[in-house]
Symmetry: C2
Subunit: 195 residues, 2 copies
């Protein structure tokens, strides 16, 4: 029988494309095998199992996202960097919904994907340099930014914002502005009195 030229990398790329096309939750070994005109068990020569393939997709997604973010924040600082960071993140999620869903998997601590995820913290930390928060505020801020951006994009993708006429775009801008305000008036270092 003619060989199909499979490999872990080829399968992962195909799986990532498939996830974007049909949705991550419908990403199945059968679908990937079909795409290569191959039977399901053949995939086991290249990936450990279905879950491992999904984790590979997550690692690819997190890596691509980190690359985009790195590109976006390069040469910017403060509010500009924050805006670019957030836009890169949200744009990626919109362009690659399946990969983004993969990136939200619970990642095994020792996985390649979890390693890549750490790059995200570092990038976020770099972005915060312009705000000069110092520790431990900077760590808190890294967590805050990650949470807000993830939460917003997740809710938007889930349709939670589509029942109200207010444009999501405008709310997104407001959220980024709000983050900027919070970072420039960081609570612990510079408490703001009640009005």
């Amino acid at each position: 029988m003619a060989r199909a030229g499979l490999s872990a990398e080829v399968l992962t790329v195909a799986a990532a494309e498939l996830a974007d096309e049909i949705g991550f939750e419908r990403l199945t070994l059968g679908a990937v095998a079909r795409r290569f005109g191959v039977k399901e068990p053949s995939l086991y020569s290249h990936v450990k199992n279905a879950q491992a393939l999904r984790l590979h997709v997550a690692a690819v997604a997190l890596g691509e996202l980190a690359d985009r973010i790195a590109e976006a924040v390069a040469g910017r600082s403060g509010r500009d960097a924050l805006t670019a960071f957030a836009a890169a993140y949200r744009d990626y999620a919109k362009e690659h919904p399946g990969r983004f869903a993969a990136a939200r998997m619970t990642l095994p601590v020792e996985s390649r994907a979890a390693e890549v995820a750490r790059r995200h913290s570092e990038l976020t930390r770099a972005l915060l340099r312009g705000y000069a928060l110092g520790e431990p505020a900077e760590t808190d801020a890294v967590r805050l930014i990650g949470a807000t951006v993830l939460g917003f994009v997740t809710l938007e993708a889930g349709g939670s914002y589509s029942h109200h006429p207010r444009a999501v775009e405008a709310s997104w801008g407001a959220a980024v502005d709000a983050l900027d305000v919070a970072l420039r008036n960081w609570p612990v270092s510079r408490p703001v009195p009640n009005p």
Copy 2:
């Protein structure tokens, strides 16, 4: 054969408990049936299918969470209300991880669960009264708060915060403080100059 006294409600409650015990992703009709000493097909007299049962759990979870939030914000306003809201949300997620995972499902627009989800926006809106933002800022703020709290709790549950010594508890407090600062210095209405 003796009847087991099943009903949609009983099954949903059991499924919710099971989800908390074994994880939402492992919630299966077989597991629910086993708990009642009944065969899987018997469940189809009471729920349409497995997905419907999961949606019922999501609706229950969202309802319980809304109740907790309502209780928490009652009689409080401003920062107190925000802190109580956030704590109620996070505590629920910690106590009921399976139900909370259910609540994060993508909800069909016309579902009971989606209806309950709307109550959350209203509660968040109520919480914001003390900040007197006005529209459309209030809608933007509702979205921001939901995103931040969801994102933080999701990342915390996924273990993203456990690789760094900084206490999650402290970061949580900082995040809530940061939200409060942002709300009291809402960007559009009261822009803050660069330092």
